[in-house]
Every structure is written in structure tokens, then in C-alpha cells.
């Protein structure tokens, strides 16, 4: 043995093993994932030679005296799979050559550079640190009065950047109105603010558009992107994804934004309104956020999307990467993925009856509830859902990177109307009103009258059963309800007989025998119904209760049928409200940063953190971390007021800057990506803004707020805002799709493509032509110069220069000479719609 060591040592010395080139890469490739900064299995780290020598729980990994006794060599050379490192599931064993190399290096005394530094501690990653409000830089001179501008100006001074001047007032007004309301300003607004010489004109414009109800529609659409709003889709009529009537959630988003409902409150309601406000439909609508993830056939997929997008959208974490094994970049263990899933494991979706609509096919409130409080969560071996590890039930929990408060989960006792939804105060009356309406509309009154009587009797029986009335009264009401239902059966059978008699009378010779048979069958059925109606009511007889909600059935069982019906339990697990408390805890390092970044990007044309859904170690850090943190702190301390944040951002100089590159050669050379906001980043209108603007400028926008979506076949004639269009994975509006419509599966940031199809849509669509004609009509005047100026201002937010005036005038003249002079103004407007600066936000 000793001889071997000597030989090995000699060989090693002869070849002089180079740690940096031959050892470290090997350890990094095969060992660091479990013995590095991310994880320290057995207390051991191998990411520097010093740490390796220091060793772990079992002592030093090397023995410099007795080289072959080195623990690391024993483990990598072990033949017992339980002993061998890396373990079998992490890949093949090291080769003999690699082991020899390692041995040689140890024998040489494990030499390594003295200044070797370990892998950075993942928990020290910037976005996992608490949000501490940084001081606003005090600049010795200059006009950076606004905190945002102070942070930015500080960088400009450091880097020799000269910010571009403010945008022209008209351009700024157009930018602001579109930003805050999703629509360009009206001519009256433009003229009023343009001519306003009071110092606070801009602030008043901000306040006006922030208070405009269309603000909620504008920002609602933004958050619908992030939160993956989708109308239902499936195969034919079969609902497979999302929910019918999910628009209640969309309307809740819009109303909440208009009310400046705090962001943290919105998140809490979206995740757990059913636990926090169990009988308030206005708040329950928020849980459409989770109801949208409904997946008919596949629970793992449903849960997977929920975990993925709660963590990406609300936390900027890619927890989905940990489904199969520990996260490769972030301190998120595979178990953490399943802990996160466990918060959602119990929930299912149901439709609640809303006031004034008893038919859930027509309307109802999609909302979540904990249906399966005891459903276990299992870790899937390597993410394979066919290989759950049933030995351990995974409890809900949060990743350690932000485990600041002990998570406390306590079950929520629900009020009875939450789990017996017929007891919501409006439900029975709604059913009765529906039956009354059916009677009023019925041609044959007898059946409808019997049905109304039965609904009333059932309602009465239910009311009595919920009351303190004596048992006898309950029994009597029950008997009356059953009798009324039997009367309905008689009436229905009687109607069938009448129909059969009529059919027989109208039958020809050929059809008469069959019609006679059908009449006979109907008469038999009527006799049977009459017999049952006369029978004594037995204790086992029941009546059909009126429903207050219907579980949305799943088909996880692949039986070709709905899974067995789930009941509405009287308690909820409290898991989701605990998760919501954690996410919205002001101490959470990610929530406010991620939200602020989303809001900033939509105002400024680019985000502060480029990887908007990945704030982890594989994401890209912000160029201005202090600004991000200051905004996040301000956001939290304002009570998570989004309007406060909007106001703050749009009143900064940075927001108001021009987007031109004129005279910016030096800035371009120093900061080509505008990381330091020396100009406004121009952008293209989102698809909805383009369509809505055309209709609004035409003066035809239908201002109806909310309600069921405009179905695909009604969209081409619709004048409603585009966010009300039915939009799902399967149904997308043709015009909107050309301009990068939101993908419902994931849309954290809209694309801004430039393709010829967009030119064709604006040049050729009936929408654009009709809008042009309408705008021209609205601007009608005998004075060409006035027409041109007003058209430019309205459509583009530009006061045209002499060249532009002359070109426009010349085109008007040409059109007038080309055969249809009356159309010339409309054609001018059409041209302006196709001007670069119509779809561009300058």
C-alpha cells in the first residue's frame, strides 16, 4: 500500500496537478450542487480548497499524511452505492483517471491559490435582502427635487450622462393620457391643457386621468396580463380551462384599481377571499385569480401552473424549476416546490348563485373553496407525477430565503352561508323570481304554475329547516315541498299527454301507429305520476333543495365522467390566507420590489429589473437598485397605494423626458441601452390601445363598464373597449393578435413587434377606415389649415411644422383631384393613423 502511495505521489509530482485547471472544474461539475454555497450536505463545502480541507461533519475531507485515508477519496471510490459520491441518482461515478488526479493533488499537499474565494452565498443575493429605504441622494446643485430624479441624476453625474430635455407638452399629454387611461386625450383636453399657463397644469392632468374610471380599465388590462386573465376554453362546449363567467374577476380588478384598493389587499383577496370574506361575493370575485387555473383533466398541471405563476407573478421566483429537483440557482429545494403546492392542494372551484340569476349557465360567480382539506401533498420523485413519494406528506411552507415570520396556519370556521350557499340571503328569492318569470313567459301556464309552487314550497321547507321551528313544522314544510314536486311531475306528464294527443291528431296514416303508441306511453306515465302524487309521503322521501352554488366538476379519474361530487366543507384550512399574509407581509423582500418593477415598466417603457418574473440569481440585477428599493419602501409605507406610485412616477422628470436621440451621441455611446434613463424609452401602443384609440378618436367608444365579454362573433361590430372582448387560449381577436396580443398562458411583458401585417391592419381594416371617416366628420371645417392642425393634434398629439402642414395640404389637394373630393379629409386622417407616431408612444 505504502508503495502505491509513493508511486502515486511521485506520479502526481511528476505531472504537477494544477488545482485551478484540473481539480476545481471537476469538483464544480460534480460536487458543488450539494457541497457548495447552495447546499452543504453533511456540513461539507468543496468550493474552495480551504473549505475542503476544513471538512464537514465527518471531519476533513482529506488526510495529507495518509492520502488514501482521505474521506473524499474513500467516498468517490466506494463501490457501495449508499456510500458512493456523487450518489447514483446524480450520475455516473468518477473515472479512475479522475480519482487518480484527485489523489495526486492531495498527495502533493492539496496546493491551491491563497486568494481563492468561495461561491457567493445565495442567501446574500440582492433581492432576498430586506427592503431598506435608502436615503435620497442630496445633490449639491441642480433641480432634482423629485426623489426618483435624485437617484437618476446621481448616476448621470457619475457616468457623464446628460438627460434629454422634456417632451413637448402635447406629446407629454398624449403619453400621460394613454398611460393612465389607455386612450389618447380628447381635442378639448389637449387644447385646454396646451393653453393652460398655470404652473400646476401637469399635476392637474395627472389627477384628472388618475381619477378617470377608464384608469381602472387601462391598468386592469396590465394586471390581467400579469395575472393571466383568460376567458374559458375547452373542446367544443366542454369547459377544460379557466371558468365560465370569469369576467367577474376582471370587473373586480378594474373596480379595485379605480378605488385604489391597496395592492397587498388585492393579493390577499385573490389568494384567499373565501377565507377572509367567505360570504361577500364582491370580494370572492377576486379568487378568480385561482379559479382561472382550473384544469379539467389534470390536477398536477393545475397545481403546477398555480405554483409557477404565484411565484413568478407575485414573487419574481421561478419555483417551477424546483419541481424535479432542487433549484439550480436559488436556495429553493425541491421540497419547497411541494410545500408551496400544499397551500393550494385543497382548493377547487365552484360557481355561486348571484342575486338576480338562478341559472348558473347564464351567470354565476366563479370562486375557490377548500374542498379537500385533508388531501395530502406528495413530492414527485424527479418531478414525475407517476412516482409520488407517499412516505411523507408535505406540509405547506415557504422557502427559507424569505421565511422571516413563523408561518402560522389555522383553520377557518366558515359562516354557514359559505358552506350552505343556499342560505345566502338572496338565493331562495332569486330562484322564486326566476320561476315567476318563467310562469309569466309560459304559454302553457299549468306546468309553470306548478313549478313556481314547488319552488316556493321548497324554499319554505328550506327556510323552516334552518330555523328554530319545531320538528313538526319542519316535517310539514318538507311534506308540502315533496307534494309540490309531485304536482309538478303530474303537470309535466299531463303536458306530455296533451302534446302526444296533438301529435296523433296531426299524424298521417304512416305515422299514426307510432303516435298512438307514444300517446299510450304518455298516458301510462301520467297515471303513474298521479298514483305517486296520491301516495303517502314516506320518511325516506326527499325534495330537491334549491342550490346556492355548484362545484365545477373535474375529470381527474379518466372515467369519461365527472369525478364524484365534492361537498362544501364547513371549515377552510387557512393555508391560503396564511400564504397571503406571508406574501403581503411588509417584511417580504420580493413582493413590493416585483410589483414596483411591473408598474415602473408599464410607465417607463422598460423595467428596472430586466427579468421581470425572475428576481433570483439567474435573473438580471437592476442597474439602479437604490431606486428600486426606495420605490418599494415608499410603496409599502403608502399603504401599498398604486395610485400613489403612479403619481410618483409620472411626476418625475425622468418620466417627462423626450424620447428623441437628437444630440445624444455621447449618451448613446456611454449607455446605449438607456439603463440610466437619460431619455424616455419610446414604445408601441399595446394591441388594445390601438383599437380603443381608433374608436375613441372616432367618438364612438361605448363607455359601458364591465359585464360579460363580447363574444368572438360580435367583436367586429363592437364599439366596446378591447379588454371586454372574449379572449382565451383558443379565441383571439384577429386585429388585436396582429399587434402582439397577450398570451393567456404567460405574459409578464408584452412583445412590441414591427411586422408588415400591422401596416396592413391599419391601412386596410374597416376599423381604421371607418374611424378615419368619423374623425374627419367630427373635425369638419371649411378651413384646410385648421382641419390639418386639429387632425394632427387629435390623432398624433403633434403641432405640425410648416413642412408637415404643406405635405398634408398637398395630399388633400391630390385626393380632391382624384375623384372623390368629399373623402379627402377622411383620407388625411387615415394617413395619420398610419403615421409612425400614431402607434408610437413618444
Amino acid at each position: 500500500m505504502s508503495l502505491l502511495v509513493v508511486v502515486a505521489t511521485a506520479a502526481a509530482q511528476a505531472t504537477a496537478v494544477d488545482y485551478g485547471a484540473q481539480i476545481k472544474p471537476l469538483l464544480k461539475a460534480r460536487c458543488y450542487a450539494c457541497h457548495g454555497s447552495l447546499k452543504q450536505e453533511g456540513g461539507l463545502r468543496l468550493d474552495t480548497a480551504a473549505l475542503l480541507i476544513a471538512g464537514g461533519d465527518s471531519g476533513s475531507a482529506v488526510s495529507l499524511e495518509h492520502v488514501n485515508d482521505s474521506l473524499i477519496l474513500e467516498r468517490v471510490a466506494a463501490t457501495d452505492p449508499d456510500q458512493r459520491m456523487p450518489p447514483p441518482h446524480e450520475g455516473e461515478p468518477l473515472t479512475a483517471e479522475q480519482i487518480g488526479r484527485l489523489r495526486g493533488w492531495i498527495a502533493a499537499g492539496a496546493p491551491a491559490p491563497a486568494d481563492e474565494s468561495p461561491e457567493a452565498d445565495p442567501s446574500a443575493h440582492w433581492s432576498f435582502q430586506p427592503i431598506v429605504r435608502p436615503p435620497v441622494p442630496r445633490l449639491d446643485s441642480g433641480s432634482a427635487n423629485h426623489p426618483i430624479d435624485a437617484f437618476i441624476a446621481q448616476q448621470h453625474r457619475l457616468r457623464g450622462l446628460q438627460p434629454q430635455p422634456s417632451a413637448p407638452r402635447l406629446a407629454l399629454l398624449r403619453r400621460l393620457a394613454i398611460d393612465l387611461t389607455g386612450l389618447p386625450p380628447s381635442l378639448e383636453e389637449l387644447e385646454a391643457f396646451r393653453d393652460d399657463d398655470r404652473g400646476d397644469w401637469y399635476r392637474r392632468a395627472v389627477e384628472q386621468w388618475l381619477a378617470d374610471p377608464r384608469h381602472g380599465e387601462r391598468w386592469g388590462r396590465h394586471w390581467m396580463d400579469v395575472w393571466r386573465y383568460s376567458d374559458w376554453w375547452g373542446l367544443g362546449e366542454q369547459l377544460r380551462f379557466s371558468q365560465k363567467h370569469i369576467w367577474h374577476w376582471r370587473d373586480w380588478i378594474i373596480e379595485s384599481l379605480n378605488d385604489d384598493t391597496p395592492y397587498d389587499e388585492m393579493i390577499r383577496l385573490m389568494l384567499a377571499a373565501d377565507e377572509l370574506h367567505p360570504v361577500d361575493p364582491d370580494k370572492l370575485a377576486a379568487t378568480g385569480y385561482l379559479a382561472r387555473n382550473f384544469t379539467l383533466f389534470n390536477r398536477p398541471q393545475w397545481m403546477d401552473e398555480t405554483v409557477e405563476h404565484v411565484s413568478k407573478g407575485l414573487l419574481g421566483l421561478t419555483m417551477n424549476c424546483a419541481r424535479c429537483h432542487d433549484h439550480k440557482y436559488d436556495p429553493i429545494e425541491q421540497t419547497d416546490y411541494y410545500r408551496m403546492r400544499a397551500f393550494f392542494e385543497p382548493y377547487h372551484v365552484r360557481l355561486d348563485v348571484l342575486p338576480d340569476q338562478a341559472d348558473l349557465n347564464v351567470d354565476g360567480l366563479p370562486r375557490v373553496f377548500d374542498a379537500l382539506p385533508d388531501e395530502p401533498t406528495y413530492l414527485y420523485h424527479r418531478g414525475d407525477e407517476t412516482q409520488p413519494d407517499r412516505s411523507t406528506v408535505i406540509a405547506p411552507g415557504v422557502p427559507r430565503l424569505a421565511a422571516f415570520p413563523p408561518l402560522s396556519i389555522s383553520a377557518v370556521e366558515l359562516p354557514v352561508a359559505a358552506w350552505q350557499p343556499a342560505r345566502q340571503p338572496w338565493v331562495l328569492e332569486t330562484h322564486i323570481a326566476a320561476a315567476e318569470a318563467r310562469l309569466a313567459a309560459a304559454k302553457d301556464k299549468s306546468l309553470a304554475a306548478a313549478e313556481l309552487a314547488a319552488v316556493r314550497a321548497r324554499a319554505a321547507a328550506m327556510r323552516v329547516s334552518w330555523s328554530d321551528e319545531p320538528t313538526a313544522a319542519v316535517g310539514a314544510a318538507r311534506g308540502a315541498a315533496i307534494a309540490a314536486e309531485r304536482d309538478v311531475a303530474v303537470a309535466r306528464a299531463g303536458q306530455a299527454v296533451a302534446q302526444a294527443e296533438q301529435a296523433l291528431a296531426e299524424a298521417d296514416d304512416q305515422g299514426r301507429p307510432a303516435a298512438a303508441q307514444r300517446l299510450q306511453d304518455a298516458q301510462t306515465a301520467l297515471a303513474e305520476a298521479q298514483r305517486q302524487a296520491a301516495a303517502e309521503i314516506q320518511p325516506s322521501d326527499t325534495y330537491q333543495p334549491l342550490i346556492g352554488a355548484r362545484w365545477t366538476p373535474t375529470r381527474f379519474g379518466f372515467s369519461g365522467q365527472d369525478d364524484p361530487e365534492l361537498k362544501f366543507p364547513p371549515t377552510s384550512t387557512g393555508r391560503r390566507s396564511a400564504l397571503a399574509r406571508w406574501i403581503t407581509d411588509p417584511r417580504h423582500p420580493l413582493t413590493a420590489r416585483v410589483a414596483v418593477n411591473h408598474i415602473w415598466m408599464r410607465h417607463m417603457g422598460a423595467p428596472l429589473v430586466p427579468t421581470v418574473f425572475d428576481f433570483g440569481r439567474n435573473g438580471k440585477p437592476p442597474a439602479l437598485p437604490e431606486l428600486l428599493d426606495w420605490l418599494a419602501a415608499e410603496f409599502i409605507e403608502s399603504g401599498w397605494s398604486m395610485k400613489h406610485l403612479h403619481r410618483l412616477i409620472v411626476t418625475s422628470e425622468a418620466y417627462r423626458r423626450g424620447s428623441s436621440l437628437r444630440g445624444a451621441e455621447q449618451n448613446l455611446a456611454l449607455d446605449p441601452d438607456n439603463l440610466y434613463w437619460w431619455r424616455r424609452t419610446p414604445g408601441r401602443m399595446e394591441s388594445q390601445v390601438i383599437r380603443d384609440s381608433l374608436i375613441a378618436l372616432a367618438g364612438r367608444l361605448d363607455n359601458q363598464f364591465g359585464g360579460p365579454p363580447v363574444p368572438p362573433d360580435g367583436q367586429s361590430d363592437s364599439l366596446r373597449r378591447s379588454l371586454y372582448f372574449f379572449h382565451s387560449n383558443n379565441d383571439r381577436n384577429q386585429f388585436l393578435t396582429v399587434f402582439d396580443e397577450a398570451l393567456v398562458t404567460e405574459c409578464y411583458r408584452r412583445e412590441q413587434s414591427v411586422v408588415p401585417q400591422q401596416a396592413l391592419a391599419l391601412a386596410n381594416s374597416g376599423l381604421a377606415h371607418d374611424a378615419a371617416a368619423d374623425v374627419a366628420r367630427r373635425l369638419a371645417t371649411d378651413d384646410d389649415a385648421g382641419l390639418i392642425r386639429r387632425a394632427w393634434m387629435l390623432v398624433l398629439g403633434i403641432d405640425p411644422n410648416p413642412q408637415e402642414l404643406a405635405a398634408s395640404q398637398q395630399a388633400l389637394d391630390h385626393w380632391r383631384a382624384s375623384g372623390r373630393p368629399a373623402q379627402a379629409p377622411a383620407h388625411l386622417v387615415w394617413a395619420l393613423f398610419n403615421h409612425n407616431d400614431f402607434v408610437t408612444i413618444r
Partner: protein, 475 residues
């Protein structure tokens, strides 16, 4: 100055000469002769004018297409470590892997899975091609097959990687077609120079990336009944009226450039309008196949339901390159991970997919050649990675990055040759190993472009990502 020239002179991101000079100085990247934006002409004499890029999404099995491995049958059912080829799993050889999306796939599969299809020698060259590709096989004497590709992303982000040459984690980079569009002027101003057909799930980003949106592919669907949305005015609008309007729009945008110089999006929009007005007529013409003979249509398999869609696309592709389109990028089986992603049921999967593409591709090669177009058109058949020699489940193969095949044809390349090799079980590329950008470099070379001269100062591609032309297959 045409809009394109104006665009080029402003360069991709609207960097003026002064700004570029400053950047060159600062970054110290100036090479011999200052960098200048491309002028639309090749850097040296081109061998090809156009590219038809056929990309099979999901990962085609190399062993069952263009790189037969009889040893898989001999050792079927054995684990790799029990065979003489155990050393293929040397961790060092496997260390090129950079996984992006760990999802239970992209793992080592140890038990060798026998070939699921037969092979035969074809053509005068006698190159073996599997029986799933009889029509391509009939054209084997036109192909230069490269059997020694490798890549690094063992999940479908490798689709992005094959097109940009950069790993997905490195950020957004221009695709090859974007570079070609950047470098070469149009041969036909009535059509887009760079066209994309088919879905691109994993890299549905802008092709131009930092080159700007003007270098994005123009997505087209090939549907003779409905070739282009909004292709004609939906309200009365005479050609004369339209022309007056178009002239006005051009003038107004040009005037606006004074206030907003070097605006990449505006440049792209101006170019897109230019093109859009022409596409109103040119696109319906391209996909109007009524002047194609029945023989030609059936050559592409248009009369057969199993390959009609792809046949229409390839016939349109031929008509496009005939009209001077530079780069036609066709995705087969895009959506999800890709149609070829045969983790299970490989035999059924590849049979179906090959049925959909084989005859159209064979038809395209035949048709291009007989029209004399193959000499100036490069056809590429590629996929993001190969599939494991070992089985996944009972009858599938997993993703495999260490060795796989692509082929090229025409455009000044040798015909009927095989270049490079994998080991005996198709695991590692062992002879003439080529990273995916060697394909890029070969194409650029044949198109007469020097990729170093295309490169934007301050926006470096790494050396590995540049690739080297595969000189051995160049005629």
C-alpha cells in the same frame, strides 16, 4: 435614398458614426479597417443567394434518420456500462451540458434501445438513410450530411440555441436569419427578405434582437385560400387614393426623422409599410399555385393529406427563393416541446412526422435541382438535438445533445457526402465535432458574408459562438 439604405446607414440600433467611433474607441474592439454597417452586398463572392431552413422541432433521432448504428441492435437491452462503449459516459465528456429547464427529461438513459427502422444504401453515393425518409433518401446524392453536431442545452431551449448560437441563459441574441437579413440586401423589394413559417414555441421572440425589429422574420401562413389578413382595403379606397396616402405617409415619417433621428422602431416601421403595400399583391401571388403543374404539386405531396401542409409550405418556399427571398425559415412541428419529441412511442412518432415531411422535402430537392435553383439555394435540415441511444420508458428516446445529425444541400456545397461521425452507438460526436454555429458559419460563408464584419461593436458573440465554416463539405 431608399428606406433600406437609410436604415442601413443608420445601422442597427441607430448608432451614428460618431457614437460608433466613440464605442469603438472605448471598447477597443476596432479591427483593421473601422467597422462600418453592412451595405447590403456580400463581403466576397457568394455561392448561394438564398436559404431554405427546415427545422424539425422536438429533436429527430440521429440513429433512425441519417446516422445508422447497428450496434444498438447488437447490444439492445444492455446497459451502456455493460458494452464496450462504457466510456461514453465519462463525466468529463458529459460536462458540456447546460440545462435550462429541468423537467425530468434530458437525463442519461442507460439501456440501449434497438433501431426502430431499417436502413438502406441509397443513390450513387451509397449513403445510408433510414426507411422513414425514402424521398429524401432518393435525393441523397444532393446532400452533405453532417453527423457530428453537438449542443449544450439538454432541454428544448436548444431550439433557441440552434437559431441564435447562444445558450438561452445568455440572453436574447439575433437568429441566423436575422444576421443574414442584416448583412444582405433584398433581391426583391416586393417580398420580405426573411420569412418565418410555422410555430416557434420556445423562441417566439424577435429574430433581430439587438439588431432591431427590422431584422425580425415576417411570419407568414401558407394558405392559398386566405394568404394574408387585411390584404385589401375593407372599404372603398382606390389605388390612386392609396398611392397619394402612401406618398404622404412616407414624406411625413421622413420629416419626423429630423426630430427623432436614429429611431430603430421607426426605421423598422417605415420598412414594414414599404413592404406591406407590396405584399398586398406579392403574397397572394406567391401562394397562388394555379400556375404549378399537377406533376409539380404532387411532387411536393400536396395531393396527400398526411403531407399536404408541409408540401404547401415547401412549394411556397421554392416560389419565394425563385423570387429572391433570402431566408425562408420553416418550423415543422412547433408548439409544445415540438412534434419530434419522442419520449415514448418513438416508432409511431417518427413514422408520422417523417410521413409529413419526407415527400415534400424530397420534392423540394428534386424541383430546385431540375430548375437549376439548387446551385444558388442552400437547403438545411436541422433539429435542436438528437435522441438518446438508450431507451426512455419502454419505447422512447430522451433528449441527446452530445451527437446528432443535420444535412445541407445545394448552394455550392459538395453533393452526396458524409462529414463527421459519432461513436458506434451514436452517443458522442467523435470525428469533426461541430457546435451548432459551425452550420451558421457555413451558411454565412456560402452567402458571401464574413460574420466578423457583421458583428456590432460592443455586442460581442463569443468565439465559440462564431463557429467556423465546415470547409470539408464546401465544393
Amino acid at each position: 435614398m431608399s428606406s433600406r439604405r437609410r436604415f442601413l446607414s443608420n445601422s442597427a440600433l441607430g448608432l451614428s458614426g460618431i457614437a460608433l467611433g466613440a464605442m469603438l474607441h472605448r471598447d477597443g474592439v476596432a479591427r483593421d479597417g473601422a467597422w462600418s454597417p453592412p451595405n447590403g452586398r456580400p463581403h466576397f463572392a457568394p455561392q448561394a443567394n438564398s436559404v431554405i431552413w427546415l427545422f424539425m422541432n422536438g429533436g429527430v433521432s440521429q440513429m433512425e434518420s441519417f446516422d445508422p448504428k447497428p450496434m444498438l441492435c447488437k447490444y439492445a437491452g444492455k446497459t451502456i456500462s455493460e458494452t464496450p462503449f462504457a466510456d461514453v459516459q465519462d463525466p468529463e465528456k458529459l460536462a458540456i451540458e447546460r440545462l435550462v429547464v429541468p423537467d425530468g427529461n434530458g437525463n442519461q438513459r442507460n439501456e440501449l434501445f434497438p433501431l426502430q427502422v431499417g436502413f438502406r444504401k441509397r443513390g450513387e453515393s451509397g449513403i445510408e438513410v433510414s426507411d422513414w425518409f425514402p424521398h429524401v433518401g432518393a435525393n441523397v446524392d444532393k446532400l452533405a450530411i453532417v453527423r457530428s453536431l453537438w449542443t449544450t442545452d439538454s432541454n428544448h431551449g436548444a431550439q433557441t440555441q440552434f437559431h441564435t448560437g447562444r445558450h438561452q441563459n445568455d440572453g436574447d441574441f439575433p437568429t441566423l436569419g436575422g444576421w443574414v437579413h442584416f448583412g444582405l440586401g433584398s433581391l426583391n423589394d416586393n417580398l420580405p427578405s426573411f420569412v418565418s413559417i410555422g410555430r416557434r414555441e420556445y423562441w417566439n421572440r424577435r429574430d433581430g434582437a439587438y439588431l432591431g425589429p427590422a431584422h425580425d422574420a415576417v411570419p407568414l401562413r401558407i394558405d392559398p385560400q386566405n394568404p394574408l389578413d387585411y390584404s385589401q382595403p375593407q372599404r372603398e379606397f382606390t389605388a390612386a387614393e392609396q398611392q397619394i396616402g402612401k406618398t404622404l405617409i412616407d414624406r411625413l415619417n421622413a420629416i419626423r426623422e429630423d426630430a427623432y433621428p436614429q429611431d430603430a422602431a421607426m426605421q423598422a416601421r417605415i420598412a414594414s409599410y414599404e413592404l406591406a403595400f407590396r405584399m398586398q399583391h406579392s403574397i397572394p401571388d406567391v401562394v397562388d399555385f394555379s400556375d404549378e403543374t399537377a406533376e409539380t404539386q404532387s411532387l411536393y405531396g400536396i395531393d396527400q393529406p398526411h403531407c399536404r401542409d408541409f408540401g404547401l409550405q415547401l412549394l411556397a418556399a421554392r416560389r419565394m427563393v425563385e423570387r429572391g427571398v433570402r431566408f425562408v425559415q420553416i418550423q415543422h412541428g412547433g408548439g409544445g416541446a415540438g412534434a419530434w419529441d419522442a419520449h415514448g412511442g418513438l416508432k409511431r412518432n417518427h413514422t408520422q412526422n417523417a410521413l409529413a415531411v419526407d415527400q415534400p422535402i424530397g420534392g423540394l430537392l428534386t424541383d430546385l435541382d431540375r430548375r437549376g435553383l439548387l446551385d444558388q439555394t442552400l437547403v438545411v435540415f436541422a433539429t435542436e438535438f438528437g435522441r438518446t441511444p438508450g431507451s426512455q420508458g419502454s419505447d422512447g428516446r430522451d433528449h441527446h445533445i452530445f451527437g446528432f445529425s443535420v444535412w445541407l444541400a445545394g448552394g455550392g456545397l459538395k453533393r452526396g457526402v458524409v462529414h463527421g461521425a459519432t461513436d458506434e452507438i451514436g452517443f458522442h460526436a467523435v470525428e469533426h465535432r461541430h457546435y451548432v454555429t459551425d452550420i451558421h458559419a457555413t451558411l454565412l460563408h456560402q452567402l458571401g458574408l464574413d460574420s466578423r464584419r457583421l458583428e456590432i461593436p460592443g455586442r460581442k458573440r463569443l468565439d465559440i459562438d462564431h463557429g467556423e465554416p465546415i470547409h470539408e463539405i464546401i465544393a
